[in-house]
Symmetry: none
Subunit: 244 residues, 4 copies
DNA sequence: CATGAATGAGCGTTCATTCAT
DNA sequence: GATGAATGAACGCTCATTCAT
């Protein structure tokens, strides 16, 4: 059973990874009041610990069945403390999701550094997404929740934006790949942004189908996720490719 | 709603096995089980009424915030009565979903009767789905819930199968269309079932994207759903089409 | 569809056992309207069937957890029908109890016909009670419920009287035995009624102890019920016996 | 009560491993867990208050008709708070019972300190029990519930043991009295434990008879409880006494 | 009479959230 | 800040009882 490594080596706090998550960090290294700075770090660490615990519980039980009590237990904090960091269960949820999007974004980042000249533009994005999915499968299920009206109405818009931005950046990368493909004369002259969105949606749609009940997956779809994705990639490429 | 249920009187009574169970012996085969038949109809109607109310409440509030109390109020029944027809909130949910799938399936049915000779195979399915979506938009949101583990674990498998079957039939229709396209020499020789699933997933993925927060829809995707679907159709067709 | 399902060996109704249970039987055998008489019999049979079913369910589940639904199912009647015969769950309960007391009384009746001259007066009552207990163990548990205030407040006094009368008769028989013992010169000149009550209470108390949690029975009392009863009999006899 | 918990601020930070788990690090061994101690006391008091309220409601309404709402109201707590202290209505019930047994045990304790030389061994126990009963009459009714199968199956075994132990201790005291009587040459050489159990059961049986419906008490038993107990004591003593 | 669908008050219980310490 | 006891509204659900058929 492939492990999903949301462990967070904790190390990460000391390194650059922090600024990514940190949204509310307006502390400047003027050298002065260390105490405050130390505090900030502690708080940040705590915040991450809570998100980690929440993620684990949400993954194990689902959002609806998860309880703040269990999350608090799991990170060794008091229930009240959770509310010091997150206004509601829903904000906690969105934060877990945001963190997942950040991870994905980070993995997508490498696509930007592709050596020029290769011609698997879209393929690489497909694969990057697929590999992320394999290691973070459970994120997807809870992501599908974010469209629920009772979730959305309770999620602070600002927290949501964090997710969105990450998604936008990923899509931007895909768009760039498509654009490169066009410019390299491989792809037809399509609207790269639209295609990026379509590819993105396609993968999500396929994954969603696979996260349905096993009955659906086995008796209806009846083929492995990887195969399905590859065929879908094939179809898309065929649609994109410029025919001489 | 004109009832014609004085229909066929005795029939069932001619079967011996009945008397054993029967305790309520005193009405004879005179005008006979009018009562029973009427009952059946009433029950069916009530069931539908409950599903309708549930649908409305689920749509308005979301599954999590919906309450049985409100559903009961909305269809003018007592709370206990709801539980006479549905074992749990989750079963009610799945029944709403099943009903939605039935509707979709019914609309897809017409695709089967397409006059031969036309060549918009996949287009017609896309459009059928899209039109259904426009009129039943809110179904989709709640459908996305069915992948939640805490939902699935509480939904009676049998009720789920109802949904699945309808979905399978729709997919079958799409596959047939693809197959026709292949046989008509319009499409490449692809795995029609896989392609049907991919198309299906693509549309769902796109819809899901649009059912995300408006921020996502407006600021990120930034184009109308219809456009997006059309472009996606275009891409898919291009991918399917046989090039001379 | 002629059904003759007043089945019920019915026999039983024709014999003497009836008058005992029957409280509301003012039908005289004037020969006329047989129909009515048949009805009466049917009703009586139904009543007994319900009590039987109730007994089984009360025994299996306990009064609190028993449901009218299950009782109705078990005797193949509709729930509403139960309420035609018994005003409430509590009346049903008391009727089960009354029926148990009638049984006990019937078994005690034989003590009245003891051949004169024997000298095991009290012993025979002890043993009769004990044997009844062994075969009707579960009656006792539910009997202990009758002292609950929320039971009593809902039991129609009239139904209760049925129980009481049977108990009184049993006690009367015990008193007579004690009296015989006194007159035979075996026992001291005690108040026979009081002693009868004391003996009765003693046995009930012992049985109650045994119907407590097994922990109590095994870890605390620590001896077999039969032994305990015998020792208790021994003690009582020793107390009663006239010493020369 | 001066709290000194602004104590030592950073501390915990110096230890590396700590921050992860340690959450409540900030109060050191100064005047120290005064807080905790106060809490403990408060909790104990609350627990007692709840038991008191429950007792009152159970006594007034009976277990079945009692509601947690009423119990909560009566002790001025929220319903949820009750569940912080007791897992279920049944646990509350058993706790009320346990508390009653503790009281009885405490009253029995004095019997242990009887000045030697007296010869009313069993009498004193009878009387202690009787006096307890007079002041705590209503306990007995609800005690009779504990033999109900649907009660027992829902009572946490551990809570039950509390009751049992108290009962066992009382019985132990009675046994000792009997034993003393034997050793003092007053009583026959009987099995003291069995006799203790028999006496106990006898009193309980008598009390149960008196807690039946008033009809039973008045029309059947027809004598005062005290008289009955005295006669029963008399009978038992007569049975125990060593005859020259 | 018998039925059984409908009722609906009421249940025990949960848990996100608050707030005094 | 951190705590965790307290809250109490809301929950899903039950079931004795009624009543139209």
């Amino acid at each position: 059973m492939s492990r999903e490594d949301h462990s967070v080596p904790a190390m990460s706090l000391t390194i650059k990874s922090v600024p990514i998550i940190m949204t509310n960090s307006h502390y400047m290294n003027t050298g002065h009041n260390k105490k405050t700075e130390r505090r900030k770090n502690e708080q940040l660490a705590r915040r991450k610990a809570i998100i980690k615990a929440a993620r684990e519980v949400f993954f194990a039980k689902g959002f609806m069945s998860a309880t703040i009590d269990e999350i608090a237990d799991r990170c060794g904090l008091a229930k009240g403390t959770i509310y010091l960091y997150f206004k509601s269960k829903e904000e906690l949820y969105i934060s877990v999701m945001a963190e997942g999007m950040q991870r994905l974004r980070k993995e997508f980042e490498v696509l930007k550094k592709r050596p020029p000249g290769g011609n698997e533009f879209v393929e690489s994005a497909f694969m990057a997404y697929y590999h992320f999915f394999k290691r973070n499968r459970k994120y997807f299920r809870i992501m599908f929740l974010s469209s629920q009206p009772d979730m959305r109405s309770r999620v602070p818009e600002e927290a949501l934006r964090g997710c969105m931005e990450a998604a936008r950046e990923c899509l931007g990368i895909v768009r760039d790949l498509v654009q490169e493909g066009i410019e390299a004369g491989c792809y037809r002259k399509v609207d790269a942004w639209a295609v990026a969105n379509i590819l993105w949606a396609t993968i999500n749609g396929i994954i969603m189908a696979y996260e349905q009940d096993p009955i659906y997956r086995e008796e209806i779809v009846g083929m492995e996720l990887e195969q399905m994705l590859l065929q879908s990639l094939d179809l898309a490429l065929e649609g994109l490719r410029l025919k001489k």
